[in-house]
């Protein structure tokens, strides 16, 4: 027996539970509620002011969240991976630990904390909560790549006369870009599509794209919901083509 045949059960599973569902998203997106072919759902998205503005706000929040996560997370990952600045391996575990407590509960607690401090819930608190939820997802892949990086490149650059700043910008940062890329992948699209977090942190004042998809699916407007999901799928397809990275780097346990 050829052992490559061992992959057959999973291949079938993937076809039924990954491929077919995505095909169904496309099929439902181009049908009306009676099952007839239509472009109505797609044109509705491009002409509906509310949906379009929500879409724009979602992209904006996601962009800001991703940038903030890089700005705050990169230095943290760099410090954690630097043996001279951080001698204990436990610190990285401390960053991952809160992720084991239910994300919704943590978000609700954050919202209550803001309430108690007298901060009005809105765009600012939404961004804070998003950064709070997604920062570990940015720190971890960058830390991983910095930790495994061959230190002799940086040493060679220093030996050849580069100043510490130059070594950092010309050697360390370029070599760590794959880590940043997988961090972006794990932060950007999930931010666009969250629905519970934005509801809790803004008291329903700011809707994100995920909320609109959820509302449509839950009120049995499956076809329009599918069309909105298709819009997201297209963006995901484009962005993963652009970043072009295989995600095999993700391996190796979060513990």
């Amino acid at each position: 027996m050829k052992r490559s045949s061992w992959a057959i059960p999973y291949a079938l599973f993937l076809v039924v539970f990954v491929l077919l569902p995505l095909i169904l998203v496309v099929v439902y997106a181009f049908q009306d509620s009676m099952g007839r072919f239509t472009l109505g759902n797609i044109t509705k998205f491009f002409t509906d002011r509310d949906t379009l503005s929500t879409f724009a706000v979602s992209l904006e929040v996601a962009l800001e969240n991703t940038l903030l996560c890089i700005l705050l997370g990169y230095p943290a990952a760099w410090i954690l991976a630097n043996r001279k600045l951080n001698r204990s391996a436990v610190t990285i575990v401390l960053f991952i630990l809160p992720m084991w407590v239910n994300a919704l509960m943590r978000t609700l607690a954050t919202a209550e904390l803001f309430n108690m401090l007298g901060v009005t819930l809105g765009k600012g608190t939404l961004l804070f909560g998003m950064v709070y939820d997604y920062l570990p997802f940015m720190i971890y892949p960058i830390y991983n790549i910095l930790d495994k990086m061959d230190k002799s490149y940086a040493e060679a650059a220093a030996d050849l006369g580069a100043r510490p700043g130059t070594v950092f910008w010309k050697v360390t940062v370029p070599l760590s870009m794959p880590g940043v890329a997988s961090g972006v992948l794990m932060v950007f699209m999930p931010t666009v599509s969250t629905f519970a977090i934005s509801e809790f942190l803004t008291n329903n004042k700011i809707k994100l794209f995920g909320t609109i998809i959820q509302e449509n699916i839950n009120s049995s407007m499956w076809n329009y919901g599918a069309a909105l999901a298709l819009v997201m799928l297209v963006i995901i397809g484009l962005s993963s083509l652009l970043s072009g990275g295989e995600k095999e780097e993700m391996q190796g346990g979060l513990i």
Binding site: F13, L104, A196, G210, Q214, M232
Partner: protein, 268 residues
């Protein structure tokens, strides 16, 4: 000096990261209905939680049970499916390997809501009534890719001759699998299982779309519904505190054991 500022930065981030958790823990020791309102020290909420005596909120314990059971079943099945698949993929070449790797990557790249909505449409399309089974199937879908990716590197590190040698020396394929292959893959399988288990525990969106209308709740969907009704069940506070403490203890034990192991191997 540089080290001082670096440590300061890390600890400021950690304090912010832990603030909501500490907040929950503090207010788990008071009886008030809402979070953030101190009504004097009391362990009443812990008593309620541990005796299951909550006015009209007994479904919370049911939700906890569902969450654990779903995570356990989904992680076990995902580990089985993913390990067998990884052995197959390891022995594949060319187009078919590329195709299956591509499909395997999709659930990891897709945001939860896309996985949830697409599976919802699948179950509607196939006229499968949604409930426990569909939630477990959905969780297996987003867990298995991580198992595959945890086991594949172990296969790559393995010397293929060992398995062949076992066969040459008269082991049946079954024995060779149990005595040679599985022990070599165990590390990858364990980390795949743990990753699957924690992702299943923490999932909200996928469960939300695939649980149907039979009133099945996991912890996440329970909290969501509860918060939208206004006012969280107070017993959630001690529950979250206990969960956090359990994980903290587990991680400490795990890390201490690993350090001891590392020391032992150093001495040898």
């Amino acid at each position: 000096m540089k080290r001082f500022f670096a440590q300061l930065y890390i600890w400021v981030l950690l304090v912010i990261l832990y603030a909501p958790l500490v907040f929950i823990a503090i207010f788990s020791f008071t009886e008030s209905k809402v979070l953030g309102n101190w009504k004097g020290f009391s362990t009443r909420l812990y008593q309620n939680l541990l005796t299951g005596d909550m006015q009209g909120n007994s479904s919370l314990l049911q939700a906890v049970e569902n969450t654990l059971l779903i995570a356990l079943i989904a992680a076990a099945l995902a580990t089985l499916l993913g390990t067998v698949a990884a052995i197959g993929i390891h022995n594949m070449n060319g187009r078919s390997r590329q195709a299956i790797t591509f499909l395997n990557n999709i659930p990891m790249i897709n945001p939860d809501i896309i996985t949830g909505v697409s599976l919802f449409l699948l179950f509607v399309f196939l006229h499968i009534s949604q409930g426990y089974t569909t939630v477990v199937l959905a969780h297996i879908t987003f867990c298995t890719p991580y198992v595959v990716l945890s086991v594949l590197p172990k296969l790559r590190q393995m010397n293929p001759n060992i398995y062949e040698a076992a066969l040459d020396l008269g082991a049946t394929p079954g024995v060779a699998l149990r005595k040679v292959l599985i022990p070599q893959l165990r590390g990858g399988m364990v980390s795949g299982f743990i990753l699957s288990f924690t992702m299943s525990l923490d999932d909200f969106a996928v469960t939300f779309f695939t649980r149907g209308t039979i009133g099945l709740d996991t912890l996440s969907t329970y909290i969501y519904t509860d918060a939208r009704k206004g006012g969280l069940t107070p017993e959630l506070r001690p529950l979250m505190t206990l969960i956090f403490l359990i994980i903290l203890v587990l991680l400490v034990v795990f890390n201490v054991r690993q350090q001891r192991l590392a020391k032992k191997t150093q001495r040898v």
